[in-house]
Each structure stands twice: as structure tokens, then as C-alpha cells.
């Protein structure tokens, strides 16, 4: 690649010499090319970093967050759920996923123009991101397709057969994720607020596509699969909150790529989304800990990290649309709301969502998607314009009440699709290979029964 660079350099030099003599228009064109290249390199630098950050969210981030919350005997089995998705999610995406999600096509699903990434190269796809190579855009979106199904695994942790998990994940990605991604972000997608969707639903980084779909599916999984042996009578404690803290912090840091990266450029919109993301994470962590403090007299580390993740979930759809102070508020509300869902509602309804994938992602995603319709403002993101190009009000507080309605429609649709599809898919997988490990295997733990290895061998 070094030659390439030196040549690029040479040409630059030559060019500059040319300019000296050449007539007016010519240089302008050359300069514009130079500017375009610089702008593209700048945005691409940030987007490549964002891709890396979002992958880091899944591995090791989510793997650690979830892995620390289960019992020692299931740590590898649980981390494997995240890890194997870095494999499956990637291959599916490369073969068909990108095309089904971002190919033109119906309002519900993309066509096959990008099958095997055909035609996805170094040039930008101006429809989606005009200043970065389409390959970068493809990579970034792939990282989302990897982590989303991984989030579900929190619901069936400690009891699902590995083969069943793989089968379910593949089907779910095809049937739920790709269509949802297309509807919300794909060109012509039903809910796409920017590319001609009938129901313009604002979802900056995946409140509906990522969190509601995974969270609601998690709820269905928890109900269909039933409780873990001994739950809730026997104590089932996190085996290492230290691992979970590492994971949560990496999720927090990685989320900057997730949300600020969704600006698909490194301009001021990215900075704004970065601010909103961090602020919401902080106040949500605070909110959850305060709730604990009032209820049990002690704020806990588990509460703090759970709250932080909840806040990140809540702000995800809003990150690029809301100002800093509303972000602080959204996080705080979200932290307390998810605390309530996880601690009170789950206990009431009595399902066993092992790691609270629904209580955090489903509940938080729903809340966030709706609040986005409330707090979104044209000062941050002039999402809607009139013919004359003047920015129109975006959120409820700016006087655009209809947006909340659109948000609710988007939320409802996500709930239905995720819920129904997941139920059917689980039944299919159950019929094919069976969903649950045997009681003996569950007692022995997933690490030994599914993978033939142990997480720790600390005997000296």
C-alpha cells in the first residue's frame, strides 16, 4: 500500500504544479477533489473507530456483563452466546444480511442487489452515508446485527441448549432483525423518517430495531423456556460482579461508537450524540442507585451498572435528536423506570428473565423511543423541513405532537413483530432440536455440558 500512498503524494505534487499555470476552473475541481478526500478520510477515521467500538461492546463487553451475572458453572456458556454471534452475525450479514436490510425494495425488506456484498466497495453509498466508503457503512451496520441477538441471550441464560441457541439466533436474525432494520433505516422502509417511509419514526441508533426487538423477544424466550431449576427459591447469585463491571464500562465506552457513530460522520452531530449518550448513562446509573438506596438502604454496584446500561438503552433512539439537559432527564427517568421493571414488575409477573434483558432493553427501549418523540428538537437535528427548507418542529415539546404518535406506531410494530416471530421460532426450534438442556446438564452447568470445559481451574 506504500506505493499507492507515495503515488497519491506525487500526483498531489504534480497537481499543485499544474495549478500554477492552468486556467481558473481546472484547479477548483482538483481542490474540491482534495477536500472531498480529506472530508471522507476524516469521517471514515471516526467511523472505523466506531465499528471497532461497537464490536467491542459484544466482545468482550456484553460477554463479560452477562458472564459475570451467571453462576460460575455457566460463565463460558453465557459468554459463548455473545462470542458465537460475532461469527454467525458476520457470516449471515456478508452473505445476505446487508442486502436484505439496506437494499432497495419493499417497505418491509430489502432486495438482493448486495448479495455477497456484490458492489459494496470503497465508494460511498450516497443514500445512506455520502462521505464514507460503503464498506465502512456496511461494517458499522453489521456490528449492530451482531449485538442485537446477543442481547436476547440474557433471557435464556443458564438453560438453553447451544445448538438450539444457534438455530434460533440464525432464524431470528433473518426473520426479525433484517426486516426491522430495513423498515427503520433502509431506503423506502416503512418507518424510515428520512428515506420516504410512510410512518416517519425517529430512531437514531436503534431503540426499536435493536432494543425493543431484542428485549421483547427476550421476554417471550423467558416465558416459553420456563424458569431455571431452583429459581427463585435457591439463591442464584452473580458469580463475579467484577466481570460485570468491566463489561458494563466497556459497553458504556463502546456505546459512544454505537450512538455517536450513528451520525455516520465526525461532525458536530456526532459530538452532540456523544454528549447525550454519556449524560443519560450517568443519570440513569444515579437514578437506579438512588432507588436502591431508598428501598434497601444501600446502593449497589450491580444497581449502578444496570442503571448505566438502562440509560444507554433509553437514549439510543434519541441520541442525535435531543439536547444535553433533556438527555440528563431521560437517563434519570429511564434508570428509575427500569429499576421498577426489573425489581418490582418481574417479581410480580414471576417470569425468569435470567439477566433482565427485557426489563432493561425491552422496557428501556420502549420508553426511549416514545420520549424521543417528546424531546427531539430541530436545534439539534433539523430532521424535518418544509418546502422552503426551513426546519419544522420535531418533538412534542416543540409542538409536533404527531411525532409521539409515529413513535408509538413504530414501538407497537416492533413489539408485535418481535413477539410473534420469536414465539413461532422458539416452537420450531423446540420441535427440531429441543430448547432446553436436560436437568442433569443444567445442574452440571452449561460449561461442562455444552462445551466440555470449565471457566476457572483455581486449584493450585
Amino acid at each position: 500500500m506504500k506505493r499507492i500512498l507515495s503515488m497519491l503524494f506525487l500526483s498531489a505534487v504534480l497537481a499543485s504544479q499544474v495549478f500554477a499555470q492552468a486556467p481558473a476552473p481546472s484547479p477548483t475541481a482538483a481542490l474540491e477533489a482534495g477536500i472531498k478526500s480529506a472530508q471522507s478520510s476524516a469521517d471514515n477515521a471516526w467511523m472505523l473507530v466506531s465499528c471497532a467500538l461497537v464490536l467491542m461492546m459484544t466482545g468482550p463487553g456484553l460477554a463479560l456483563f452477562y458472564g459475570g451475572l451467571v453462576r460460575r458453572k455457566n460463565v463460558l456458556g453465557t459468554m459463548m452466546h455473545s462470542f458465537v454471534l460475532m461469527v454467525i452475525g458476520t457470516v449471515l450479514w456478508a452473505l445476505v444480511g446487508y442486502s436484505l436490510a439496506f437494499g432497495e425494495g419493499s417497505p418491509f425488506i430489502g432486495d438482493l442487489r448486495y448479495l455477497f456484498l456484490n458492489g459494496v466497495g470503497g465508494d460511498p453509498n450516497a443514500t445512506y452515508a455520502a462521505t464514507i466508503p460503503q464498506q465502512t457503512f456496511m461494517l458499522f451496520q453489521m456490528m449492530f446485527a451482531i449485538i442485537t441477538p446477543a442481547l436476547i441471550s440474557g433471557a435464556f441464560a443458564e438453560r438453553m441448549k447451544f445448538s438450539a441457541m444457534i438455530l434460533f439466533t440464525i432464524l431470528w436474525t433473518l426473520v426479525v432483525y433484517y426486516p426491522m432494520a430495513h423498515m427503520v433505516w433502509g431506503n423506502g422502509g416503512l418507518l424510515n423518517a428520512f428515506l420516504g417511509g410512510k410512518v416517519p419514526c425517529l430512531d437514531f441508533a436503534g431503540g426499536t430495531v435493536v432494543h425493543i426487538t431484542s428485549g421483547v423477544s427476550a421476554l417471550v424466550c423467558a416465558i416459553v423456556m420456563g424458569k431455571r431449576k431452583g429459581y427463585p427459591n435457591e439463591p442464584i447469585k452473580p458469580h463475579s460482579l467484577v466481570l460485570s463491571l468491566i463489561g458494563a464500562c466497556l459497553l458504556w465506552v463502546g456505546w459512544f461508537g454505537f450512538n455517536a457513530g450513528s451520525a455516520l460522520s465526525s461532525g458536530s452531530l456526532a459530538s452532540s450524540a456523544f454528549v447525550a449518550t454519556h449524560f443519560a448513562a450517568a443519570t440513569a446509573a444515579g437514578g437506579w442507585m438512588l432507588a436502591e438506596w431508598f428501598q434497601h438502604g444501600k446502593p449497589s454496584m450491580l444497581g449502578g451498572i444496570s442503571g448505566a446500561v438502562a440509560g444507554l438503552v433509553v437514549i439510543t433512539p434519541a441520541a442525535g435528536f435531543v439536547a444535553p439537559m433533556p438527555a440528563l432527564l431521560m437517563g434519570f427517568i429511564g434508570g428509575i423506570f427500569c429499576y421498577f421493571m426489573v425489581v418490582k414488575v418481574k417479581a410480580m409477573l414471576g417470569y425468569d428473565d435470567s439477566l433482565d434483558a427485557f426489563g432493561v432493553h425491552g422496557a428501556g427501549g420502549t420508553l426511549g423511543a416514545i420520549l424521543t418523540g417528546v424531546f427531539a428538537t430541530k436545534d439539534v437535528n433539523a430532521a424535518f423541513k418544509d418546502a422552503a427548507g426551513n426546519a419544522l418542529p420535531v418533538g412534542l415539546l416543540e409542538g409536533n405532537g404527531s411525532q409521539v404518535v409515529n413513535q408509538i406506531i413504530g414501538v407497537g410494530l416492533s413489539w408485535v413483530i418481535a413477539g410473534v416471530a420469536t414465539f413461532i421460532l422458539l416452537k420450531i426450534v423446540d420441535a427440531m432440536v429441543g430448547l432446553r438442556v436436560s436437568p442433569e446438564e443444567e445442574t452440571a452447568g452449561l460449561d461442562l455440558s455444552q462445551h466440555g470445559e470449565e471457566g476457572y481451574s483455581l486449584e493450585s
Partner: protein, 112 residues
């Protein structure tokens, strides 16, 4: 006084504890151990290298009780720990010469 030493399946610990509390035995000491016996272990593979693991996680419970109560404890313990499958474990009974409560130097059965 007798010492009742039981080696049981880890996942039976809760039940056994409850059963013992039920009959008024709440002084006990628990140790994480690994056991070997009739129950066959499992195979682990690391990069192709197979290990036959024949020491399995067990829990050891020790209680010193008045000789008079030994049988009662044994049957409660057996009942709670039993699954009927190989690996349930064993109970061993030993004589105890003396017992002392460190807090107040009480001795003998009153120290239990």
C-alpha cells in the same frame, strides 16, 4: 458427643440445611471439597488434549451433636440429601472427646 460428617452433592446443600434447622440443629461447618467414588467423572478437552476429571465437586458438612441425637440427625440428613443416584455421598460418624465454646469457655454438650 458425636461428629456427623456428611459428604453430599453441592446442589443439595440448601435442602439439607433446611432439614437440619427443622430438627433444631443449626451448628454446622461446611467445606467445599472434591470427591471420588463410584460416580464416574466427566471429560474435558482443551485444544484436543483430553482430561478425565474424576474428582467431582462435593460439599462436606460437619456437625458435632449430643450422642443421643446422632441417629435423628443422620436420618434427617439422609432423607434430605438423597436423590437415589450414584454420587449422593456418605455420612461418617466419629466420637468427640470434648467441645469448647471459645466465646465463653463453656465445655461439653452445652458448648454445641
Amino acid at each position: 458427643m458425636k461428629k456427623i460428617e456428611a459428604v453430599i452433592q453441592p446442589f443439595k446443600l440448601e435442602e439439607v440445611k433446611e432439614a437440619l434447622k427443622a430438627i433444631g440443629i443449626d451448628g454446622m461447618t461446611v467445606t467445599e471439597v472434591r470427591g471420588h467414588g463410584r460416580q464416574k467423572g466427566h471429560k474435558e478437552v482443551y485444544r484436543g488434549q483430553e482430561y478425565q476429571v474424576d474428582l467431582l465437586p462435593k460439599v462436606k458438612i460437619e456437625m458435632v451433636v449430643p450422642s443421643a441425637r446422632a441417629e435423628e440427625v443422620i436420618s434427617a440428613l439422609t432423607a434430605a440429601a438423597k436423590t437415589g443416584k450414584i454420587g449422593d455421598g456418605k455420612i461418617f460418624v466419629y466420637d468427640v472427646v470434648d467441645a469448647i465454646r471459645i466465646r465463653n469457655d463453656e465445655r461439653g454438650e452445652s458448648a454445641l
